[in-house]
Subunit: 431 residues, 2 copies
């Protein structure tokens, strides 16, 4: 294996991965979710892999971006942002695009660029690590912990996708009430050893979700609990929920939309507020932090622009006395490995990270990453420490290629209309 | 050269370097200034060098720190902070120590720790870069520019140190009035090609320094000019100076002490305020940034905790719309190389950096670093791209060893008393 670190080739592989019928305030996960797998190959023959969102608007940007990478050095990570700046983005197209009903926060051209950069950055770090025989966490300054803790990500869900829509079998069953959520939580603890729990809320009226949190607190006394309605509540509703269950919550996540509303809720309750919607870009930090609108930022390395930007975000949070942890959307093992490497290097990571990974029955790795006691061990294997199964990747790509277009953009409201004709994304605040 | 990155040995070499009689508001530079040269040697036989402050309190902390490094990996940069946290610091000793009369800002145990960490971090980066055959800027994510611009650092100064105090000959001559400052500036442009100028003020009453700035503006029309009285002025005096020369200044640096005063000045004038005194630690950022007290932070990698912390500081500044550039105290080529590598990686570096380097007639390098058109070329040579002259290092160490103790702590007020008996650090604000 040669040390030539020049990027010789970049391969983009859009895929569709099976996703269970998980509910959120906008609708339900589609049977398949698009992801983009990025492979960077050096002139020295080393391959590195990254993963990011795979909706059409990301693919459209990734292609010209990839074309500009050939001939650059795989270690020129700062240069990725220069490349991104040079790729034209149709801002109007971005701002009006369906984006899971805004579950990922503000939509801007810059954020789209960063979401694409992140996939390439992780691929470059993986390749660089392999070429230098160093793990990615070492390229990020070194791990400060040997394992990274994740939380059980509980969802209200249907038992299965509507008949006729092909998907993978899964055995999680239905969860539409407190008993269903507690049963799901038990499965999570049995299978993965998680000790903290996050409930995706905003699906049912607040009283039902309050009951679910109370049921969890009773079933798992003393364990950290979180509730995330994705901004579905008004300020008064948020305050009511905070009053009812604030005492048993580790934090309340995005109870209401926007910095002013979050600041109002934060100012009136002692419950810490976390966010992956109010603060999802560097541009939103100043106002939110100066107004003390959020107490924990849930970083998503995909849209913050990669692992090094995530470290910068963590440094900003530390400087302003704001906590930091990690957000997750549907993702595969490449991103779980990336999250684990960067999380291992962040000293001020004081909350278990979120991950959808246990919900993904499919992966592109030869060997799935496992949770032991709710934790992922930080590997010292060079690069991300993973191996991609090219047959599996090709299979998931064929599914994307053969799709008639209905699954290539994740649209939870459209998926909901399959069983609930006439469903539209609810106006916010919903309650 | 083996790839074993284990730290096998750490060598600490305190030295005294010749320093001209440069004036500031606290007094005058001593004939010799203490610096600490840190060498980290890997089990693979690679040496890396770092440099930091060399006063006694830094040495006292560096010794137990060095003892804890053996056996660790040279690439475990995040771990350096863990090591630092474990070394006991006598907070009272730190807070009451003479520290150039507070020219370096607040004195805390944490800042002292970071000042020591930085020397080790640079040494580790140098060694790591050599072992991996990569320049330090690549270890920091890659350069975004090929040369780093520095400003001419103008000082009021005496012609020579008092008779009887040994020092190096130097030909800069006296500068105690506008004509002297302009002549000095001309020498700087002729010798190094600098195109921007910073005058260290706070030495003479404000009217005299205003006259010097006006003379510089006349001699170098359109060139960026800065004035730095090290907090010697009251808020009203600061506002008066801003009114008189604000229009021809790139920025005004630390006109007055403390965040409340700086915020008051910043709020009442359109002249950007820079600082290396009001904001010198991460702990001071929140208040200063939320109050818009400073518009440019002058990072000093020595006390911010190294090159990676400097990148974090730059990210914070970028996020809050605050400019960033670099501060300098008396330093040698190791630190100039380190500053240049990190500066090359900071996208939002929009002001020429400060450097005392042209004032240092001595260095520990085999070959001095040169300024071309006021810029230092960013090297792609592995590590810092410098070579240490061990004979020269030994010579400067012997000077430190043989010193009777009068020069081992930099004390500009004490140096001033040699010619002005009874001199004490002026109470602030001085004017």
């Amino acid at each position: 294996m040669s040390r030539d670190l020049t990027i010789a080739e970049v391969r983009l592989t859009p895929i569709l991965v099976a996703d269970p019928p998980l509910l959120n305030t906008q609708g339900v996960h589609q049977p398949y979710t698009p992801r983009l797998i990025i492979e960077v190959v050096t002139a020295g023959g080393v391959s590195g892999f990254g993963e990011t969102y795979g909706d059409a608007k990301y693919l459209e940007l990734a292609e010209p971006f990839a074309e500009r990478l050939a001939g650059r050095q795989v270690n020129d990570l700062n240069g990725l942002f220069t490349v991104a700046d040079a790729v034209a983005v149709d801002a109007a197209r971005v701002e009006n695009a369906v984006d899971v009903g805004g579950l990922r926060g503000v939509q801007t051209a810059d954020k789209l660029r960063l979401s694409v950069v992140s996939g390439f950055e992780v691929a470059c770090l993986d390749a660089l690590g392999k070429a230098l025989e160093l793990p990615v966490h070492t390229l990020l300054g070194g791990k400060v912990r040997d394992a990274v803790e994740y939380s059980a990500y509980l969802f209200y869900k249907y038992a299965a996708h509507p008949a006729g829509v092909p998907s993978e079998p899964e055995d999680w069953g239905e969860a539409v009430d407190p008993a269903g959520i507690v049963a799901q939580a038990r499965k999570f603890t049995e299978r993965h050893g998680f000790t903290s729990f996050k409930l995706k809320g905003g699906v049912f009226p607040p009283d039902e979700e309050i009951a679910a949190i109370r049921a969890l607190a009773e079933a798992f006394p003393g364990h950290p609990l979180r509730l995330d309605p994705n901004g579905a509540w008004s300020v008064p509703t948020s305050l009511k929920v905070a009053e009812e269950v604030g005492g048993i919550l580790e934090y309340l996540e995005d109870p209401t939309l926007g910095t002013p509303g979050m600041a109002e809720v934060a100012g009136a309750t002692g419950v810490p507020l976390a966010t992956n919607m109010c603060v999802t870009t560097f541009a939103e930090i100043k106002e939110a932090f100066t107004r003390d609108a959020v107490q924990v930022v849930l970083s998503d390395h995909h849209y913050w622009g990669g692992l090094r930007n995530t470290q910068q975000l963590a440094a900003i949070c530390r400087t302003f006395g704001v906590g930091v942890s990690m957000h997750s959307n549907t993702h595969l093992g490449i991103s779980l490995a990336a999250m684990t490497h960067v999380a291992a290097t962040v000293p001020n990571l004081h909350h278990a990270c979120d991950s959808h990974y246990p919900w993904q029955s499919e992966d592109v790795l030869t060997e799935r990453i496992t949770f032991d006691g709710g934790k992922v061990t930080v590997t010292d294997t060079p690069g991300l420490g993973i191996e991609v199964d090219r047959d599996r990747l090709a299979l998931l790509h064929r599914r994307w290629r053969d799709d008639d277009g209905t699954m290539r953009d994740r649209d939870d409201a459209a998926a909901m209309r399959v069983t609930q004709p006439g469903w539209t994304s609810p106006a916010m605040p919903r309650w």
